[in-house]
Symmetry: C2
Subunit: 302 residues, 2 copies
């Protein structure tokens, strides 16, 4: 019944630890082995009983795995591939959760020639990091994008899809290249903009940081959440998906210049027309269950 | 004990209707009169018993008021001032809730010469609009900025401050000019950027709107909330606070160009350093009670 009986998770941060918890909850008979390069993280993982076994080396974690899921920053995928290569059992499927897929697929194909690599990306997360930030329902009703490679056996792809379905996700398949374009706009550009504006606001001479914080409920605070995301993860994402990010950034900058021009020239009609158009997207996101329908994201107001 | 016994609210949208509800809750003996230019809004206000009285004209609403709070888009303040001028009783204090203060102060001083005008701005809201979107606790633990004018009697300023304190807000005083600079970065620029990126994402040829919606949990959905705010209100804000908004936009664009350059030249250290810096601001916002401490704004994950 289960797509995999023995799952290994390498990298026990927010996503990796959420997978461990979700596997425990939805596939209680599966055996889950974990590894993290950081000894403190391994110690926490053991203390909170995240996995059936936490190994001290990456190689030891994969020896009898049916599925290995790499949950490390996308810039480290190749070196983790190198570290596990000699210990991988026959028939194992390698997958990952990286936010860029073209570069990860290339790095893993180079590190693990002859192995079945089925890249994937669950589009879910919070601004928190580390093994204690994860939770079992993180993937419920979120989308997981699986990006099969040309030589993938059909059955391997279907098992990876079944794995994510079992964790509560909706699964969609597309090419790594299309994934990278879609995520550049739905995730990478928003993060870059949020990181930028939080920096801009910190660097003003005429407005103090204390004022920025006090009056952040005017809109600014919304940006600070994703700008609090893991710096290593995001540095790697922007470098790994450089072309698509720069393309989206260029389009955004052009659109922002058009808004700037409308303000400078008092073109209220252009502003009004634009602001009316953007309401519909929010409605669709809520209708499709991709955001909380309560006002203000359901923040408490009391 | 109460700062005002008879309060008039003109404009019964999100903020105006929240004031009505908050006055009912925190000053139950005060009498509250409302007016809205839109007859449908007046009908709703009567049906849901928002005020003690809802008048059909702006003039009729102010006749025995001690405090009149204008809760209309900032571009309409002057014309509402004209509409109530001949009916204002002696000793009344005029205030407002507009998101820009320099232009509102000027418009009201022109429309209402010789009257006491104490502009204010409660920094609170949700993405929803209209008389049914308001709620009594909207201002709890939010900041209300009062921007006294040079000829304001001290006692009038203190009564307006006391009014907002009674509604649950923390009050800070500053000049209209400083307010406009502070809000340009904490509120106006974030809204403009959110409106822009939602537009950018809708206009792509290679990525469908349906994909943008499905994968919005990657970060994009955070921006759609404030981009769903009232178009008329925001058109007016950008035109009314043009200079400060353009100044902040210029700084943001420079900072975004620096990020773009770091990505293009693979300068991972610059990205990492920047992304690390921005985490601290989020922590301070939460520590100071200006955002929900739960991950993901407290969105439900089940």
């Amino acid at each position: 019944m289960l797509p995999f009986q023995r799952v290994t998770v390498i990298g026990l941060g927010l996503i990796g630890s959420s997978i461990c918890r979700a596997v425990r909850q939805s596939m209680p008979t599966a055996r889950i082995t974990g590894h993290d390069a950081n000894p403190e993280v391994r110690e926490i993982a053991r203390r909170i009983d995240l996995c059936d076994d936490v190994t001290d080396t990456a190689g030891a974690s994969v020896m009898d795995a049916e599925l290995v899921v790499l949950c490390v920053p996308v810039g480290r995928m190749g070196e983790v591939g190198d570290a596990i290569r000699d210990d991988l059992p026959t028939g194992v499927i390698i997958s990952d959760v990286g936010s860029s897929k073209g570069s990860v697929a290339a790095a893993l194909e180079t590190a693990l020639p002859g192995h079945v690599i089925v890249p994937a990306h669950p589009v879910a997360g919070t601004e928190n990091s580390g093994p204690e930030a994860g939770f079992a329902t993180l993937f419920h009703n979120r989308w997981c994008i699986v990006t099969p490679l040309p030589d993938n056996p059909e059955v391997a792809v279907e098992r990876v899809c079944a794995f994510w379905t079992q964790l509560g996700a909706n699964v969609e398949k597309m090419t790594p290249q299309h994934h990278d374009l879609v995520l550049a706009v739905t995730s990478h550009l928003p993060h870059l903009i949020a990181y930028t504006i939080v920096g801009t606001a910190s660097d003003l001479e005429q407005v103090t940081q204390s004022e920025v914080i006090k009056y952040s409920a005017g809109g600014f605070r919304d940006f600070t959440r994703i700008a609090a995301s893991d710096p290593t993860m995001w540095r790697d994402v922007f470098l790994a998906n450089k072309e698509a990010v720069l393309e989206m950034l260029q389009r955004f900058s052009e659109d922002l210049s058009a808004m700037q021009r409308a303000i400078r020239w008092d073109d209220g009609d252009a502003l009004f027309e634009h602001f009316t158009r953007t309401r519909a997207i929010r409605r669709s996101i809520i209708e499709q269950g991709q955001d909380d329908s309560r006002p203000d994201f359901g923040r408490s107001h009391s």
